[in-house]
Structures are given as C-alpha cells and as structure tokens.
Symmetry: C2
Subunit: 306 residues, 2 copies
Amino acid sequence: MERLLRDGHEVLVLDDLSTGDLRFLASDIRERIELFEEDLSSVDVTFLTKILKGTDTLFHLAANADVRGGWNSTFRDIQHNVIATHNVALACREAGVKHIVFSSTGCVYGDSTVIPTPETEPFPIQTSLYGTSKVAAEGILSSFSAHGVFNVTVLRFVSVLGRYYHHGHVIDFVRQLMAHPRKLNILGDGNQRKSYISVKDCVEALVSLRGENHFEVFNIGNPDYCEVKASASLISQAMNLSPEFSFGTESRGWVGDNPYTFLDVQKAFAHGWKSTISIQDCILETVNWIRENPWVLSLDSDRHRG
Amino acid sequence: MERLLRDGHEVLVLDDLSTGDLRFLASDIRERIELFEEDLSSVDVTFLTKILKGTDTLFHLAANADVRGGWNSTFRDIQHNVIATHNVALACREAGVKHIVFSSTGCVYGDSTVIPTPETEPFPIQTSLYGTSKVAAEGILSSFSAHGVFNVTVLRFVSVLGRYYHHGHVIDFVRQLMAHPRKLNILGDGNQRKSYISVKDCVEALVSLRGENHFEVFNIGNPDYCEVKASASLISQAMNLSPEFSFGTESRGWVGDNPYTFLDVQKAFAHGWKSTISIQDCILETVNWIRENPWVLSLDSDRHRG
C-alpha cells in the first residue's frame, strides 16, 4: 500500500489481521488508508460490494498461507482461500471492479515434473490442501473472467522474503539460533531446493505486470534456487555463528512439501518485470530485518515451511 | 450398484436424491442395498465415519453436475463438489477406507489447447465453476492420498449417456421435438464437437480401472467425437422427424461451455478398459430409453448442456 499511495492512488484495505499486524503499518501510512478489519470468508457480501464501489483494481492477497498446517485443520484452506475468494469475486462483480490481481503460489504445481516449471506445465497433481485451494481460487476468478466480469492477473509466487516477513524457514532458523547458538535442526535432509523472492520485487510485479488476455498467469520468483542447507549456512554466518546442523532423513521437510521448487519466470521477464534482489541477498536482508525487529519472533512459533 | 451386487459386494448408498430418483431403483435392488438419504455437503462427519467403518472402496459420484447453472448460483459447485468432497475425505480417513474412486470430468481441462486431450495436458485455465470445483475435489483427494490416507482413482468422464440419463442435450432435443416436431432450437452454432460415453462403459471403468500409484487419473470417453448438429440429425431420425434446425451464433452453447471436448483415452485403454458402445449407439439408446420412460422428461427442464 505504501507503493500505491506513492503512485497517487486512494487505498482501501480489508484484513482480518490474523497473520498481519498493525505494527507493520507506519503511522503516516495508517492515516492515509481506509482499513476495514474483516474476515473475507464470512464477510457480508452486500457490505463488501458497497465499499468496493468505484474501485478500479483489487489486489486479492488475503489467504491462509500456512501450507503445513493444512493437515491439522483440513477445512482452513477451503474457508480462507476458496470461500473467501468466491465472496471477493461476487462482490467485485456486483461493484463493477475492473481488474483483480491475485496472489497465487508455486505450490499449485505440486511435485512438478518440469523444472524450472513454466506456467504451462503438465496438469499438476496436488500434494497440499493449500496448493489445492489456490488452484480453486484461480479457477473461480478465471470462470468469472470468462463471463467478462473483470480481468484477472494471477501471480504465482515462490516463497516471499524481506521486510515484514514472519513465517517460514528463515525466522525458524533465526529463532532456533537465538535460543541455542550451537545447533540447528533442519526439517528434511537439507537438500530441498527452493526459490525465493524479495517482497520488493513482488510489489513491483503486483503493480506493474499485466497481460494481453482477460485472464493471465505469471510465475514470479528469482531465476535461481537455493538448497536449504546452504540457506542455513548463510543465516548462521550472518549471525556470526557456527552451529552444528542436524538433519531429518526425508527428502521433504514434511508430508506434502515439495522438495524442489524452481519456477520458470521467462514470461514475466518478457513482460518487462525483472527480479532485482538475489536469493542470497533476500535471505540476508530478512535476517537483518528480523534482528532489528525482534518482536516478530513471537508472532508465529511454527516451524519452517519453505 | 447393480454391478457391485452382482459381483457379490455389500452395497451402502448415500444420496440426497436431489438429481437421483428412487424410480431408478428396481425393487429387487432397493431391497438389497442400505440407502441413507443424506446431503454430503452438510452431513455430520461423525455419522458418516460411523457408517463407513469397514468399507473397502468408496465410489464418490455425488456432485452438482449442472455446469451451466453454476453461473446463476455461484456457490453451488463449491458446496456440493468441494465441501462435500472434503467431508467424504475426512470421514474416509477416520473410517479407514482404503480406496476412493472419484468421478471427475473432462471439464477440468477448460478450453484445452491439446486435442485429443491427455491427462497430462498443459495446466488448464478453468472456464466454469463446475470444472473448478472438480479440480479442487481432485486436489483434496490427492492431498489426502499424499499423506498415505487412502488410494485414489480419478476418472475424468466425458458426458455420460444411456439408461437413467435425464439431463443434457439429448433429453432437451427429445423434449423439444415432442412438443414441436417441426423445429429444433440448438444452443450455439451447432459446430460444437463433444464426446460421449455410455453409462455401461462408465460402470466398467469405475469397477475395474486401477493404476499403479496412490493417486491415478484416467480419462474416460469414446475415442471419437460428434458435432452437436450431427447429434441433432441422429435424434430427429430416430424419432422419424425432419425438423428445421435453428442455430445460435456463438461457437459455445453458453458462456463457459467448451466447444471442443475430446479426450485422449489411451491410458485407460492401456490399462485394460475399452469403450464398447459408439457415440452414435449411445445417442440412439438414450433416445429409446427416454421414449420408453417418458416420466423422466419432467425431472429436469433445463436446456441442454452438452
């Protein structure tokens, strides 16, 4: 929203603050936006329609993003990613919103057979309820766009790092090392290969990337990947520590995790977007940001997910 | 269920009878099955778990199958295909069901770019909430199977014809011709190419097709397609009529319809299943069955959907 305000737009925000936190909003930003504390999975669609009247573009970022937790609470992804997206689509139809930019995920590719994975990879087999729910949300939006209701841009992100980050393997490693500087437990065998992107590059993609068709999908990530054990070394170095690593035995961090996530981002590049911050710099920036904002360590105590 | 009884199995049926009808059950069949009238989207999962204890294989055929109607009642597919499938998966997990056979649809391929369409076609863009909901249901089941909960066989059917059929273009054409024998209105320009399969061949696929992996997908259809206008001619001939056809102007029958549906069924063939009844014979059998059971004409008055 900082970027949208800087570009001269009026910004209205809906958030249930379940994973967000008002401390992420600088006071000068907070004063310039209209904020509604709402859960989109149970919001009154008539109310939502009313406040969306006159909106040009809606960025639909609200979601449950806890992939691993889906197995403990199997309805959560359906509720917050499928039902919530249906409510958003209905209200946008009624309010005449012209464009929806939707944050999807590389998880939709399941255990892809083509790496780096393009947007057109073979029909994926889902391994998580999170990926399933994002595929469903994309489908709801594309069905509405097929009816000419609004245009849709879907961005399938790899894991996002950087400012305001508070959920995933980097914070888990930092948290462990602050508690026990000499050892680090790593889920899986450490050979998992994952791609990451900086939140700065994400924002640029959200604001600038648009395609030619009424429904357009772009992969967003660095054109690169990093092994989890290399990330663990980098984080340890940044904290001036040399812990002993202990690994799991499985190739996956947990059941349903995808051990090799690396997206083909040529389509986004061809449309003028570029990633500008390498995976290594993303990780280092994130470690520094967490250490400068140690209060985020208490926001989420789950173990790392990628 | 006739086939399962004949094979010596005990059969338990759950149906909300929203599109089914007890008149489809011969009395000797009715006496040999246990029937629960339940809506799976709102069923008590504890109750469902209880009655599923001891079940080896569950055939999950319950669904909203009215593709076109999804646009008038946008939550219906989520409710009856996504939420219901989640309830089924949960109960099967708790009850220890070993195998789920799920009836999916060729609609999951949207407007496919590869025809005939194989199971591995490029990541599809959904054009209907029905297709979206079936992709989501497949994903829920594959996520559960990734956790080793049960094995899953997904059958993606083309449109099904034959005995007990009461919803689609054949019954619409028959209904129109019985009311006005000299004219027939056809949605779309008549050039839509669709594939069909007999319910007999479907039952054989449901009962016999199993793959090597914990989650396996098979396309099920005739290795052939038929233009809607050719089907109209065949139905008219079967009724000894020569009506004037009037066509729409669009290539699609309705928004979200896929004008060319033709699945590659080589995988199912390689696993020992074969279609045995041609599309033309399917259509003729269906016309005859409707004429012998005219009461089905009042079951569903919607216009044809493919």
